[in-house]
């Protein structure tokens, strides 16, 4: 598994790559089938919290909503829209938090709205999954997928470790 972080002129990008012992079709479905998604993602999203509700409508312009209730009773709810759904190779969706998060239906979103890109590569009967989570400086640059200059955050770590 590898992880890199890049700061470009208009966005900050986190990328994780891992190989899963399953064919692409299965891995892809785990992300797009609501029942399956609930089973694994829900547990990850919660840290002693509980998954209150899940809505997944994995098609272009479809939305998803993951509602998590924390132990202190507060909600945090992630929502987004699917931009690309190309089984079994590519899935792209926006990622943002609801201001309130406690309702049953979709609520008002607070900026920033980020972008998550999943690329599924077949390696025999395994799948190499690359997840890219991007935070953009502006909505325009997110939508343009602006490619600025890249830089790995590792070397910046030297400056930060003051």
């Amino acid at each position: 598994m590898s992880t890199t972080a890049t700061i470009k002129a208009n966005n900050i990008q986190l990328q994780l790559t891992r190989v899963f012992d399953a064919p692409r079709e299965l891995v892809f479905q785990a992300w797009t089938d609501a029942n399956q998604f609930k089973q694994w993602f829900g547990a990850a999203a919660c840290d002693g919290a509980s998954l209150e509700s899940v809505k997944v409508d994995a098609r272009v312009s479809g939305k998803y909503r993951l509602q998590v209730r924390r132990p202190d009773g507060e909600f945090y709810t992630t929502v987004g829209t699917y931009r690309e759904v190309k089984p079994p190779e590519r899935l792209v969706f926006t990622w943002a938090f609801e201001k309130d998060g406690s309702g049953e239906e979709f609520g008002e979103v607070e900026p920033p709205e980020m972008l998550v890109t999943l690329e599924f590569k077949a390696h025999g009967r395994q799948t190499e999954l690359t997840l890219t989570h991007e935070k953009f400086a502006s909505v325009e640059s997110r939508d343009r997928h602006e490619a600025g200059w890249g830089r790995c955050l590792d070397s910046l770590g030297k400056l930060v470790g003051q």
């Binding site: 598994m1 994780l16 899963f20 012992d21 785990a30 900026p111 989570h133 935070k135 400056l159 930060v160």
Partner: protein, 118 residues
Amino acid sequence: MVNCSPKLLNRTFAALADPTRRRILEHLSHGDLCVTDLARPYSMSLPAVSKHFRVLEKAGLVHRRRQGRVHSLKLDAQPMQQAQAWIEEYRKFWEAGFDRLDEYLKQLQARQKDEPKK
């Protein structure tokens, strides 16, 4: 989740995207420097280097101190620390997600093997 003001991050990114500015920051990571000493290694005019200083100041990455006619700059790692904190938060989040996905796929395939063939 980590909260990062979009405007400030925007300036941080733009500031960090330039190689000369990154060299300046690295220079300052060893200690504060007066502006003329800081500008000396660069093969460009002082006004040109000063432009870079101003971008870094606006991004909150360096702070200027004036002692008489001597201006010196000091590194402020906080904006970069915020960016790094954001990255760290999501890295941990997605790594946990991948761990769970891995377990889930193993269980799923084990169950499928156990099911009688139709």
